[in-house]
Symmetry: C2
């Protein structure tokens, strides 16, 4: 779960993934805090994930997807990944 620079996220993949998480969350009318709690992820960390500032691990992607009631593969697909 490393900090990530714009340079590391060469293709904007983290930005797109974070934007997809945020869009899905808002579509469900869920606050960022509620999502963080449901996924058992630290609230400040969740904000960084949504902003594409963290190279999130696959187990956290899975936990976030579960909290968003969506398959991890679908979440990635929405992000164009």
């Amino acid at each position: 779960m490393a900090r990530i620079s714009a340079e590391s996220d060469k293709h904007g993949d983290l930005l797109r993934l974070g934007a997809s998480v945020r869009a899905r969350r808002k579509g469900l009318g869920m606050s960022q805090e509620a999502l963080a709690d449901a996924a058992e992820i630290d609230r400040s960390h969740m904000g960084k994930i949504e902003r594409g500032e963290r190279n999130v691990t696959i187990l956290n992607v899975i936990k976030i997807a579960e909290a968003l009631n969506i398959k991890p593969s679908t979440l990635l697909e929405i992000a164009g990944l």
Copy 2:
């Protein structure tokens, strides 16, 4: 990119993801070393990923998928994720 215990991988998600990477790689007739080099991931780390022993980051999932000529979302879908 943390070490992961069987307990952390409660649902066997890492095991399934690793098995999917291995199956796709073998389907392409690619050695584990060649995949590691193509994905720019340390060779010993790649072995651990295939065995489900590492909580791989999303950027490494993306690099592995690219090296396997498959979309990251499809790789996850094959793993049942």
